[in-house]
């Protein structure tokens, strides 16, 4: 209980930001969704150091930098939050199956916590999200940006790309930045006005 209270205090602003996103994703209880996403991120041994380093209100002196770069954590937080909101939708759509009939030792909370049997659903969800980004947004990019990003995705370094295209490394870097940020605009358009994919259309 005290840990929850500490986390709530220490990550107050992060919870607020996640709650805002959860609301746009269609959550009916955005605050709880944000808390659940944060809880899961702090329980995960890979994401925990990154959350603590980048988002804790007070960074302990001599804290060592996490393995994850910030962008990796941001993508992770999005994935976990998305997953939590989907779970919420699934619970809502199946709640008619839970109204009564449970044994006395089975609390409402336990029933709602029933885990989905597949262990890698979060991973699958993230992959699906990433695939849709590429499929839906890449074709809208200028050909130069697309070509450069594909080369970068294939592991080529800026110097290699510059050689292949006959442009300077600075040009390649500019195209990569602009390409990613143009794609990011598309990603924001996808997630903002309509929210996430509704559970019943998944």
């Amino acid at each position: 209980m005290s840990e929850t209270r500490d986390a709530t205090t220490d990550y107050r602003r992060l919870l607020s930001a996640l709650g805002s996103r959860a609301r746009r994703m269609g959550s009916r209880d955005a605050e709880s969704a944000a808390q659940e996403a944060l809880k899961r991120s702090l329980e995960n041994s890979l994401s925990q150091p990154a959350v603590e380093y980048y988002f804790s209100e007070k960074l302990p002196p001599h804290a060592s930098p996490p393995v994850w770069p910030l962008d990796q954590l941001m993508a992770w937080l999005h994935g976990v939050l998305h997953f939590v909101v989907l779970e919420e939708h699934n619970r809502m759509s199946n709640r008619r199956e839970f109204p009564a009939g449970w044994t006395e030792d089975e609390s409402v909370a336990n029933r709602l916590e029933r885990a989905d049997p597949a262990p890698d659903q979060l991973d699958a969800l993230i992959q699906k999200e990433l695939q849709r980004i590429v499929v839906e947004c890449m074709p809208a990019l200028d050909a130069d940006y697309r070509r450069v990003l594909k080369m970068r995705a294939n592991g080529l370094k800026y110097g290699d790309i510059a050689l292949r295209l006959g442009v300077s490394e600075n040009t390649v870097a500019t195209w990569v930045s602009r390409g990613i940020r143009t794609l990011a605009q598309c990603v924001r358009r996808r997630t903002h006005p309509l929210g996430i994919v509704k559970p019943d259309s998944q």
Binding site: P117, K128, E136, L183, A184
Partner: protein, 417 residues
């Protein structure tokens, strides 16, 4: 100030920010939701660009199980790619503009799938411990290597179709065919059976006590309990045994089989179906037999699947007799499996019978597509094209349409001088 932020976002996306600078940017984003969204979106793009899930092959594989992705891939990406491909451009017919669009889709499908032969009627992509690709090897002999057959019944159940409350997790249990009365009050009995066991409002439960029969009509259903009105057998008491009607029990078993299969546990799904088959009457278990056939197929045992369909078809008249719709569907699946096995005459007979019984345009389209493939296998491209064209006029599914168009395109390209 803004250019400074832009510069830092550029460095963020290029991972050039040192950890303290990244932390500062993160905290700035906590007070600026727009920046938080921007950083998240950029991070997602980065992850997408680096993800193995977004390689062409991974996308094509994922699209096989995701109709929306499949369609998007065709609509937005692959079509564009196809126009850049000289091989595709040269394959386009120079006249008959009206045929251009199906050809575009067809080539797009091929390119999207990395030009890998992809057969919609295929073994499951779910984790299967048995040898799965048998069907693929047999398909290459009797019918064109890149032919695409269509059949909905043999495809794996999607996980979201499986009700979570009947999931195969530890909290669930197998449906029961018998239970007991746990309480009776004012003519209303509560039994320890519920929706898990196939009960629904109106289900009639039989009660046997001292050779006297009673009956309860279910009025309220919970997950593992139900209440119902006692309509016959006034002497019914707490502790009396109640039986679930066979049809309801088998329906519940079918749902659990689907849940197990959707979770990738084909073996448990097959075992459960097999066990139930052994205890049911032939007519009542026909649907289960067909489901088991699909599971056999997904597990890489098309021969076993074909045999089960043969039994199911022979049991059409067993009570309760199969509806025309069920007959059409089973015959279509049996025919498709026969075609995969190279038995063209039997496939022809079954598919024609299925076509005669099928009323649903989607099913008719799939049967016509498979008849087209059969005609191709028999070296009759004109007839194949005719079937494919008929299939195109009837299909209601965009992904089916794309598949039929791919088949049609192949026939056209093979016959072009």
């Amino acid at each position: 100030m803004e250019s400074d932020l832009n510069s830092r976002i550029d460095r963020y996306l290029n991972r050039e920010l040192d950890p303290p600078a990244a932390r500062a940017l993160a905290h700035e984003a906590l007070d600026d939701s727009n920046l938080f969204d921007e950083l998240t979106a950029v991070a997602l793009v980065q992850a997408a660009l680096e993800s193995p899930a977004t390689t062409d092959r991974a996308l094509a594989q994922a699209a096989l199980d995701d109709e929306d992705l499949f369609e998007t891939l065709i609509a937005r990406g692959a079509v564009e790619s196809s126009f850049e491909d000289p091989a595709f451009r040269s394959a386009l017919p120079t006249s008959e503009r009206s045929k251009r669009w199906p050809m575009v889709i067809a080539a797009a499908v091929a390119i999207a799938a990395g030009l890998v032969t992809f057969v919609i009627l295929r073994p499951s992509p779910q984790p299967v411990r048995q040898a799965a690709p048998q069907a693929r090897t047999t398909v290459a002999k009797p019918i064109p290597a890149s032919a695409i057959l269509l059949n909905s019944d043999l495809q794996p159940e999607k996980s979201h179709d499986a009700p979570i409350f009947r999931g195969a997790d530890a909290a669930s249990r197998a449906p029961k065919s018998d239970g007991t009365i746990v309480s009776i009050q004012d003519g209303v009995a509560t039994v320890n059976l519920g929706s898990l066991d196939g009960l629904s409002k109106g289900t009639e439960l039989s009660v046997v006590r001292d050779r006297q029969k009673g009956q309860i009509v279910v009025t309220t259903v919970f997950r593992d309990r139900a209440r119902g009105k006692v309509v016959a057998g006034g002497a019914i008491q707490v502790g009396d045994a109640v039986s679930v009607p066979s049809s309801a029990h088998i329906g519940a078993i079918l749902q659990q089989v689907d849940a197990l299969a959707a979770g990738g546990n084909l073996k448990a799904a097959r075992d459960l179906a097999q066990k139930t088959l052994a205890n049911g009457a032939p007519g009542e278990t026909r649907a289960l037999l067909e489901r088991l056939a699909a599971l056999d197929y997904q597990s890489g045992a098309p021969e076993a699947a074909r045999e089960r369909y043969e039994v199911a078809v022979n049991n059409f008249a067993q009570p309760p007799a199969a509806s025309v719709t069920e007959q059409a569907s089973a015959l279509a699946s049996y025919g498709a499996l026969s075609l995969l096995g190279g038995d063209r005459d039997r496939a022809d007979d079954l598919l024609q019978k299925a076509l005669a019984k099928a009323a649903d345009p989607g099913l008719r389209s799939q049967i016509l597509n498979n008849l087209g493939t059969l005609a191709e296998a028999r070296g009759n491209p004109d007839q194949a094209a005719a079937y494919y064209n008929q299939a195109l006029t009837q299909t209601t599914s965009k992904s089916d349409r794309a598949v039929v168009a791919a088949n049609l395109a192949r026939v056209h390209s093979a016959t072009r001088p």
